[in-house]
Symmetry: C2
DNA sequence: TAGATTGTTAATCGATTAACAATC
DNA sequence: TAGATTGTTAATCGATTAACAATC
C-alpha cells in the first residue's frame, strides 16, 4: 500500500473535524478555510491542513475547503459510508443507554441484539431489538454477520466473553469494562474507561485549587 | 510553586497505573519493579520511571516500588484521597447508568442528586438518590457544595445548563453531551464523546481490512 | 559487598507549528 | 491579474526511549 502510516493523534482528531463540519453543513455553510475553522475549533490552521493532507488534497488554493465534500470524505475515511452490524453484551444501564442512542444508526452502526445473563431480561426489547441470553451468543454469531461488540458488563466476565466473540468472528471490541483485554492483534479494541476520565477531571480540579 | 508543568500525556496514564496497582494490591503483591510492571502493562520501563518521577521518587534503588505506597500516592495525585460532591444533569439512560455505578463512591465521588426536565422522573430515586427537576437546580447549587456535574443530556440543552452550573460554583464538568463547551478557563471540562470513540474503532477496522 | 533497580541525563523519535512557494 | 489560501517543506517543540551513574 502506498498509504503512509497515519499517526494515532491525527485519527483521534478526525471525529471532531467531522462533528464541526456536520454542524457547518447543517448551518448551510458552503466553504471554509483552514484559518476560519481553526478559530472555531481552537486549533492551529497548520494542524488542520497537515492533518487533512495525510489523506490527500481536499482543498483548493484561494478557496478553502468545500464543507459538504470534506464532510463526506472524512466520513469515508472513518468508515461511516458503510454499515457495521454490532451487538451489546451486558444489557444493564450502560448497555441500554447505548442501545437507546439511535444516532449511532445514522452513522451506519446497526444494533442487531443485546445479550445478558440476567434471566429477567429475557424477551425484553429495546427500540424493538431483543435482549438474548449469553448462552445463545455463540449460535447467534454463527448465524449473523457481526463486526463489532460493545462490552458493557463487569470486568470479571469481560475477558471470557471477549474470547468467545473473537473466536466467532467479531473484529472490533468497544470495551467499557474496567479492564484491559489482550486479544489477537488483528482484533481492534477501543477502550472507554469512564472512571479514568473522571480521575483526570479530579486531577485537573486539584491543580486549579493550587493556583 | 516548584511544581513542574506535568504533560497531559503523563496525566492520562496515571489512572491506568492506578488500576494496575490496585489489582496487584488485591492480589497481595507487595513490591514491583518498573521492569515487571512494564511487561504487564505493555509499556516501557523507562516511561514508567519517567512518569512517576514527575511527582517525586516513589521507588527505591535495588528494590523497586512498594505497591501499597505507590497506589496511595497516585491516588493522592489524582485527588482520590478526598471526596468530591457531584450531580448528574440528565437522568436518561446514560445518567442513570452513571448513577448506578457505585464504584465512583469508593473513589470519593459522592452523588448528591440527579436532575431532569421530564416531569415523569420527578420523585424517582436511584440508589436512594432523588431525581429533581432542572428548575430547582439553581437553588440546589446555592444550598449544596457541588464540585462536579456530569452532563448527560442532549447537546441542545448542554450549553445553557453549563452556564447555570458555572455561575453557581461548579468547578468541573464531565461532559457527555455531543458538543464542545466554552467556559471560563478556571472551569475544568472533561469531554467524553462516546461516538468519537466508536468512529475511531470503525477507522481501525477499515485499516485492518486493507491489510 | 554484589546485585538489582531506581532516578536522571542524554539521544532519539515524533508531532506541532511556522513559513512560503505553488496555484486556484 | 491580484488576492487568498492551500499543500508541503523546514524549524521547533515535546515526548519517549536508551543509557548509566547513584544508591539501596
Amino acid at each position: 500500500m502506498e498509504q503512509r502510516k497515519i499517526s494515532r493523534a491525527v485519527i483521534s482528531r478526525l471525529p471532531r473535524y467531522y462533528r464541526y463540519l456536520g454542524d457547518l453543513l447543517e448551518a448551510g455553510v458552503e466553504r471554509i478555510s483552514s484559518s476560519d475553522l481553526s478559530k472555531k475549533m481552537h486549533v492551529t490552521a497548520s494542524q488542520i491542513r497537515q492533518d487533512l493532507n495525510n489523506f490527500g488534497g481536499f482543498g483548493q488554493q484561494g478557496y478553502g475547503y468545500n464543507v459538504k465534500y470534506l464532510y463526506t470524505e472524512i466520513g469515508k475515511i472513518l468508515g461511516l459510508d458503510r454499515s457495521h452490524n454490532f451487538i451489546i453484551i451486558g444489557a444493564g444501564n450502560l448497555g441500554q443507554a447505548l442501545a437507546n442512542y439511535a444516532s449511532f444508526e445514522r452513522s451506519g452502526f446497526i444494533l442487531k441484539s443485546l445479550f445478558d445473563v440476567n434471566p429477567r431480561l429475557e424477551g425484553v426489547t429495546i427500540r424493538g431489538i431483543p435482549v438474548r441470553m449469553v448462552d445463545e451468543l455463540k449460535d447467534f454469531l454463527k448465524n449473523n454477520d457481526i463486526e463489532i461488540a460493545a462490552l458493557t458488563l463487569p470486568k470479571s466476565k469481560a475477558i471470557e466473553v471477549a474470547d468467545i466473540l473473537v473466536d466467532n468472528g467479531v473484529k472490533g471490541i468497544w470495551n467499557f469494562a474496567h479492564t484491559d483485554l489482550s486479544l489477537p492483534k488483528d482484533v481492534v479494541v477501543e477502550n472507554v474507561h469512564l472512571s479514568d476520565t473522571l480521575m483526570k477531571l479530579s486531577y485537573n480540579l486539584c491543580q486549579q485549587d493550587k493556583e
